[in-house]
């Protein structure tokens, strides 16, 4: 079946511009996660959505970052006024029911801020 789909796969933007990254989770999965993978660093948790519950935003690095999940499915991660340190691979994952359910990751969006 179809896996987690992310778009675009690559994004180059100028410092100060806003960007939107999209994630289509696996159908039927109630939990959705955003992680960030920077060069030489481990994956870093950003935000978690589970069903209709309030999202866990505790990993967002600054108020320039925001995310929403519409209709319990597609999610968009928005970065406003991008900075060079935002350059990284942004990975989306979904899981069947949250908790200890295995995460299924997409292939990520590679963001480069020039």
């Amino acid at each position: 079946g179809a896996g987690v789909s992310q778009s675009p796969s690559n994004k180059v933007t100028e410092k100060g511009k806003d960007v939107e990254l999209r994630c289509d989770p696996i159908s039927g999965h109630t939990a959705l996660y955003w992680y960030r993978q920077s060069l030489g660093q481990g994956l870093e948790f950003l935000i978690y959505f589970q069903g209709n519950s309030a999202p866990d935003k505790s990993g967002l690095p600054s108020d320039r970052f925001s995310a929403e999940r519409t209709g319990g499915s597609v999610s968009t991660l928005t970065i406003q006024r991008t900075q060079q340190e935002d350059s990284a691979v942004y990975l989306c994952a979904s899981s069947r029911r949250g908790g200890n359910s295995p995460l299924h990751f997409g292939n990520g969006t590679r963001l480069t801020v020039t």
Partner: protein, 111 residues
């Protein structure tokens, strides 16, 4: 603060040469330890979850073990297709949604 350290950073093996990857962790209230495999340009792919010391899980040529301080991923008679980066992650008191990942071990298996 929860922390995961993986060693070695990189490992080169000949096909059929068995070895082990290490994941050392410090975590407040371990809920689970996870192993993922990541191929270049791809997202991580789930391999195993371990919950308590002494637990072992196997899948093909891979076996994961867990103690109170570390986990090992044993690779028996590896093949070139086992070449990938192997990531370890822990879930602690902050919950399963906030996995803390190590930086991974890059494994290259030569024919």
């Amino acid at each position: 603060e929860d922390q995961v350290t993986q060693s070695p950073e990189a490992l080169r093996l000949q096909e059929g040469e068995s070895s082990s990857l290490n994941c050392s962790y410090t975590v407040s209230g371990l809920r689970g330890l996870f192993w993922y495999r990541q191929d270049p340009g791809k997202g991580p792919e789930f391999l195993f979850t371990l919950y308590s010391a002494g637990e072992e899980k196997e899948k093909e040529r891979l076996k994961a073990t867990l103690t109170k301080k570390e986990s090992f991923l044993h690779i028996t008679a590896p093949k070139p297709e086992d070449s990938a980066t192997y990531l370890c992650a822990v879930a602690g008191d902050t919950g399963f949604q906030k996995l803390v990942f190590g930086t991974g071990t890059r494994l290259l298996v030569s024919p």
